[in-house]
Assembly symmetry: C2
Homo-oligomer: 87 residues x 2
């Protein structure tokens, strides 16, 4: 499936969350990720994310689509490209 993941996490935990999400998804904006992921990998990601989060104050929202083609993306201004940081 294809997912969009957005988080709003306390400053102390945000570095860990960023690192975690980048292992599974593409980083496209400050706290926004997208990508193709299997159900198994998605469950794994959620378990790890919950271990980082304080659920009474942090927020993680995931939008899931069975097919990437059902979502059209429009970018205005800057888009992060995760590849840039590796090359």
């Amino acid at each position: 499936m294809y997912i969009i993941l957005v988080y709003d996490i306390g400053e102390k935990r945000v570095g860990k969350m960023l690192k975690l999400c980048r292992q599974y998804l593409n980083w496209i904006q400050n706290s926004v990720f997208e990508g193709e992921i299997t159900e198994v990998k998605y469950k794994e990601l959620l378990i790890k994310a919950k271990a980082i989060m304080k659920e009474y104050k942090d927020s993680l929202i995931v939008f899931k689509s069975r097919e990437e083609k059902w979502l059209e993306k429009e970018v205005i201004g800057q888009e992060k490209n995760d590849l840039d940081t590796f090359i």
Copy 2:
């Protein structure tokens, strides 16, 4: 159509952008909005957003889906509810 809008905007402009987006969409996380919107209203929103943004440093990403039912949402932790702030 149904859209998810996420932004990463400089501090000086973020208040204006928040106010603008709340006129068209539901606020669900710090810089994340969702909602049903017509093509006409969407174009109007983009024009106004571009007027606020500095496109060489700010970022606005919109995911569009023809039908809300094609997207499943999962929330972990806190979700803003725009109604709360009005009641």
